[in-house]
Subunit: 340 residues, 2 copies
Amino acid sequence: MRVVRLFVVGLGAVGQGLMRLLKKKREQYARELGLRVELVGVADSRGVWTGEDLDPEEVLRVKSEHGTVAEVGEEVEAVQAMEDVEFDVLVELTPTDIETGEPGLSHIMKAIELGRHVVTANKGPLAVAYGEIMRAAEENGVMIRYEATAGGAMPVFNLVRETLKSVDVLSIEGVLNGTVNYVLTRMESEGISLDDAIADAQSRGIAEADPSMDIEGWDTACKIVILANSILDVPCTIDDVDVTGIEDITPEAIRIANERGYRIKLVGRADRDGNLVVRPCLVPKSDPIARVRGVMNVVRLETDVAGTIYVSGRGAGPLETASAVMSDIISIAERASREG
Amino acid sequence: MRVVRLFVVGLGAVGQGLMRLLKKKREQYARELGLRVELVGVADSRGVWTGEDLDPEEVLRVKSEHGTVAEVGEEVEAVQAMEDVEFDVLVELTPTDIETGEPGLSHIMKAIELGRHVVTANKGPLAVAYGEIMRAAEENGVMIRYEATAGGAMPVFNLVRETLKSVDVLSIEGVLNGTVNYVLTRMESEGISLDDAIADAQSRGIAEADPSMDIEGWDTACKIVILANSILDVPCTIDDVDVTGIEDITPEAIRIANERGYRIKLVGRADRDGNLVVRPCLVPKSDPIARVRGVMNVVRLETDVAGTIYVSGRGAGPLETASAVMSDIISIAERASREG
């Protein structure tokens, strides 16, 4: 039986979702894929807990009871603990910082330096340093996977990498932020103001306490940067994106657009010429981009020889996002064992 | 540089599309993927032409001028020629026969027996003998890929295999036949009869001279069988599907449905309990399945931990379908070289 040993850094919603997923499906992976997934380290912002084969249910219990795994582990930095633990894959799930990419960037670079593979759901490091990370990974012969960064459970990077090998993608366009899309959907269907729609989203756990990253378009911009680097081979960072959010969208604007056959959507777009834009757009209702409702995301890929391809899926949700992380982990484990 | 040597059987629309694709992108694959794609044999129903590195443009010219490659090759059966040629991948693109799966089934079994990998766009063999083919492939250590069988350029098998590894798909539902969908779309938008819509589709090259496989639902049924076997682990054949086509759909039925907020779509559906159904359905207009227009296909995958995922793309078109075939060829070549 193959074994993959995980060091999971970050125990917020997605990290805890991953623990729940492991609890639910670890035995099935062993049985059906011949892959034993072992947890050899978990870390949050206060400390690290390491062990030979940690129980994900126990991790959830400790985190919920004490607020940190440092309580049963040690108050050390993850980058330091990583040096002392034998693991195969760093799973980087800390909060996104689009200014510095930290602390995720340091965690990822440390893992690469140690020759360990990386799976991340954290947009920050890739939005500020995609090229740097990929060069370091190549030099050290490690794999980096980041399916969850562009849209939770909507598969797009691996779709292109694994199933559109014969094809060149010419441009990428889509609705990439479930929170914003939920807010716009509510404003349209209820005729309510932006603030009321945000408050509603917050009450349902769809928007964060500070929703500015979403509303101002920066979350979508991060995703566009990663898609452009990864799929279009356009080297870029978050600074290269022309970003406008939905702060100034009114219910009146939505109503007038609606009457004329359009929906207002926050659309992110990238093409091979390096045009990178996020802005509210009037999208004809007949366009599949306009038809995505609520927390669903959608991406349209224009290709040279395969026509237009759409993918759509839930853009958020802890378990859904964790499933994308887990698919990346399995993919790395399978490839490593074939090559090793 | 890796080399993959192809034996292409079937030079209809998709076979010729593959020749055009090779002509267009062969040098790019060599340059960017380090993969040299060589054509060492082509066959149509009248004969076979083999050679060390056939020129796809020359194959197209011969086929167009003489109607068959037998003119420059030999009048032998493909199964016989396969024994005498060194090739890595059989590319099976002969016409679909859903009664016997022939001649594709014999071609595929012969290739497997010879220890060669198989890529096919031919639904017939898989719809009548999926289990048999996969068992033989496993015993002989060869790979079978068939992305183009379920919907031209809409990626679904490889999407699930490669990017949803952590997930169980619980059910599959979709609009899987572009011809039928085009016909229904025209009937709705123009208020015309089924026969007139079919004639229109025929004049545009979207429907075949005998469109009964599409209209009666059998093409969709084939796709459901392959999806159910491949993605849901439900062993089945075309005989297990409950099939109703769109023969009896009238413009009036479409109009009345439309007024009540529905569209009539030919929907194929499969679940883990082995329920396999193809039938015209009233689908609420708000459902993404209802929103796919013209020749586009769409599939909805319900999963256990990743929520609902949609994929949509062109269900037909020679170049688009050939691109799916080519992605499978590249995928096999890459995997074979990693393992070899």
